[in-house]
């Protein structure tokens, strides 16, 4: 045998062995991951079957702790707060000490990047490293996870057994919204009604051009003011690239709403490009763009820091954000523009005359959660115990406020008054730790609505800007009747999952084109965009939704 032949034979053997190694390697891998660390054979078989088997039966008693150490993996949003380690800090250690050690559970936090959470989850799921809880704030995406078979069926009796307090708080919501295709899949966090998202405007600019903030009662007035801003060389309206949360056209929708129309088109995850409301919205933005009234490079402002930077630099005059007492927007803007004054933008300011200040209402729940299909029965029980533990007011209050005497002091009403700029060891994440306790509720609450409101104002307003939080609440109450939640479908919408990613990309491309089109070409551009969008899969989504609507499978 010649050397050359030996070489090529060896090569062939290696390649063949490689392919085989690849196969077997993968096989064992998928087997190994099928059975997570703590027991359970094949995932879908044992875990999904167990609840129904043991329905109403007796559950093992873990109140004294698990016999063997259980690894509980809890997801937590990574929002890239400076100097904050989401998986290892004072509070994660406190949770381990107070909860983990008591139940013989090893609590591990799994960071989920807030701005690309779906990608993170998909990657974790594909590599069998996803946490025990799979969560999301938006129902269509939660349904998409369910559609990928990565959530196991739940036994409500089991939840009640291990987490009676949590079950008492949430059972109504869980029973109403937790079932899909007749299977119990989701559980939720509470969402008391309140919202700290607001838009602020440069009051000094408004007054410089001889107008009043309260006078901004319609979009027409707002645009008139923008023209004056431009003439006075002050700046433009802030604008950013639409992505992820498509709730831009509410102010342009007809009122009263038709529930079926709402169900068909209103969707945070897939933008609606084809309705008259969107056309009105785009036409206005096109007008603002062509007349130089709005940030010309809005499509480059694709994350909050970039949008904020424009406002802080005094180039744009309005900015939408979650008002919080520790916000740096106001001080940073003042540093660049001494004399800047701020006011909450009145709800009518972005609404065309003849329309109502509509908005999207939250669903009556916060996080939508499911249990990872690979979690074992013990890990599932650990989740319920964790929720139960966190539902105890004492534990929740500590997570929300920190250490008394350090992070806060209690005032006469029993409200925690946060020590400003506290930087000790027990510093809270973003001043509220929300990402840790959001598994049970979305907003911190006190015993009465009045107290909660008072506490909210304190938590939301930076010192000296209490009026911002008060106005925010005032306007929030004023517009309550015009807020409607999106329809909840009780079937999986396959076409939404199929086309969502493509349509998101296409929507951005098309709407930017419409906005940047010369005024006289807007109609043609918009018509072409509509057609392209429908052809790319939106029509199929509408057909599928229509079918579900006709069958009454929505609420």
């Amino acid at each position: 045998m010649s050397k050359k032949k030996i070489g090529s034979m060896a090569m062939a053997v290696f390649v063949g062995a490689g392919l085989l190694a690849g196969c077997s390697g993968n096989d064992s891998n998928s087997n190994a991951s099928g059975s997570p660390a703590s027991g359970g054979s094949t995932p879908s078989a044992s875990n999904v079957a167990s609840p129904s088997e043991s329905a109403k039966g007796s559950y093992p008693d873990y109140s004294k702790g698990f016999p063997e150490k259980v690894n509980l993996e809890i997801p937590v949003y990574e929002r890239a707060f400076e100097g904050w380690n989401v998986t290892d800090n004072y509070y994660t250690r406190w949770i381990q000490k107070e909860f983990g050690d008591k139940y013989n559970v090893n609590v591990k936090f799994v960071p989920i990047t807030r701005s690309s959470e779906v990608q993170d989850y998909e990657q974790l799921l594909a590599s069998h490293k996803a946490p025990d809880i799979i969560f999301h704030y938006d129902m269509p995406q939660a349904l998409a996870y369910y559609g990928e078979d990565v959530m196991q069926e739940l036994d409500w009796n089991e939840i009640e057994n291990y987490a009676p307090t949590y079950w008492k708080n949430m059972s109504e919501t869980i029973k109403k919204y937790g079932a899909v295709d007749g299977k119990n899949v989701f559980f939720f966090a509470a969402r008391p009604e309140a919202d700290n998202f607001t838009s602020i405007i440069r009051k000094d600019w408004v007054e410089k051009v001889g107008m009043k903030v309260e006078g901004l009662t319609s979009l027409e007035k707002f645009n008139e003011m923008l023209v004056k801003w431009k003439e006075a060389g002050l700046g433009v309206a802030g604008e950013s690239l639409k992505k992820n949360n498509y709730n831009f056209n509410y102010a342009f929708r007809d009122w009263p709403i038709d529930p079926k129309q709402r169900a068909l088109y209103s969707d945070l995850g897939v933008a609606d490009l084809t309705t008259p409301a969107t056309e009105r919205y785009l036409r206005n933005l096109n007008y603002q763009y062509n007349n130089g009234l709005v940030d010309k490079e809005f499509y480059l402002r694709d994350d909050d820091n970039k949008i904020k930077a424009e406002f802080v630099a005094g180039k744009t005059g309005n900015y939408g954000f979650y008002l919080a007492s520790n916000t740096d927007v106001l001080s940073a803007t003042l540093a660049n523009n001494p004399g800047a004054e701020f006011a909450v933008l009145p709800p009518g300011a972005l609404v065309p005359e003849g329309f109502k200040p509509q908005g999207r209402a939250y669903w009556p729940f916060g996080f939508i959660m499911g249990i990872n299909y690979e979690s074992s029965a013990q890990e599932r029980a650990a989740v319920w115990l964790y929720l139960e533990w966190m539902s105890q007011p004492k534990n929740l209050f500590f997570l929300q406020n920190g250490v008394e005497g350090q992070n806060y002091t209690l005032d006469a009403d029993g409200i925690a008054v946060k020590v400003p700029d506290f930087a000790g060891e027990s510093k809270l994440s973003n001043n509220n730790n929300k990402d840790y306790w959001a598994l049970v509720t979305e907003i911190a609450q006190y015993s009465t609505p009045e107290l909660t409101r008072k506490a909210n104002i304190r938590n939301w307003a930076p010192a000296g800007y209490e009026y911002l939080a008060e106005d925010l609440i005032k306007y929030y109450d004023q517009t309550a009747e015009f807020r409607t939640p999106d329809a909840l479908f009780t079937v999986v919408l396959d076409k939404v999952n199929e086309y969502k990613a493509d349509l998101n990309a296409l929507f951005q491309e098309l709407y930017v084109k419409c906005v940047m089109a010369p005024t006289d070409q807007f109609d043609a551009t918009y018509e072409a965009a509509k057609k392209a969008y429908l052809d790319a899969g939106y029509q199929e989504i509408l057909d599928e939704k229509q079918k579900a609507i006709d069958a009454g499978k929505f609420s």
Binding site: G25, A126, E148, D149, A501, Q508, M516, D535
Partner: protein
Amino acid sequence: MKVESASSNVETALKRVKADSRGAAYYLRRDWQLYLLLLIPLSFVLVFKYAPMSGLVIAFKDYKIARGFWGSEWVGFEVFNQVFAKPDFGRAVRNTLLLNSLDLVFSFTMPIVLALLLNEVRSVRFKRVNQTLLYLPHFLSWVIIGAIAYQLLAEGNGVVNNLIEMMGGKRVPFLQEDAYWLVSYVAIGVWQSMGWGTILYLAAMSGINPEMYEAAIVDGAGRWRKIWNVTLPSIRVTIVTLLILNLGKVMAGSFERVLALQNKATTEYSTTIEVLVYRWGLEGGNFSRATAIGLFQAVVGLVLVLAADRVAKRLGDDGVI
């Protein structure tokens, strides 16, 4: 006497090579240390290059994470049919070919030109400083380059545009109009990669026998002649090898580069195959589809390399295979 025995030694050695009747076991035993060493890179290739290929099966399956690679249902070529029917597919293939062909024309030739220029520099210190400066961009991540590009070139407040305006010119949408974007994309790519690309050529040039230059000088050749008739032919093998390897990339391309430089106003040329793999696989969670288009891309790339290799051999050069 001595000379004679030496020559007979050589003769027997030659004979041994010719009449090689020993089996593989002999060589294994004799050079086992070398083969053992060879196992290290081989196992690397097997584990990281071949083993993952088994995952390609999901291109032919309706892959569900929960069911795993082997539990998912076989669907034959259905996923491919879906991919080919997507409206973005044609555009992505066109853009991938367009961006990479332009890269091949400019990013591939620039390092050669640059290497020739550097080779002519007489001052060693000047040459070294320049080389180091030229290598630097290669070490920057595309995310950083993208951010810098927008700081410098943005129409609204980019430094370059501010300068242009100060000097009385009109602002140029370097990155914000389709055609300009294409030019900027290629130019930034050339800037980033040309310095690093010179390394192999400079190495090849350092191996050229100085006598050839001396002979050329004796024949009365000037600088251009020397470059044309000595340097270039000497590095021809290197150029052809790199060209063949680069042809394989005409269907690939860098995802980060597109991601870092694109924006939503210039999507005409920025939807590439890599972008679709990311969108379908990681954004949409449709791993089967992402794998299918990735496999398609790899197969076309392989065909291109083989074809280029064949052409090179026909033209009388050594191929790579």
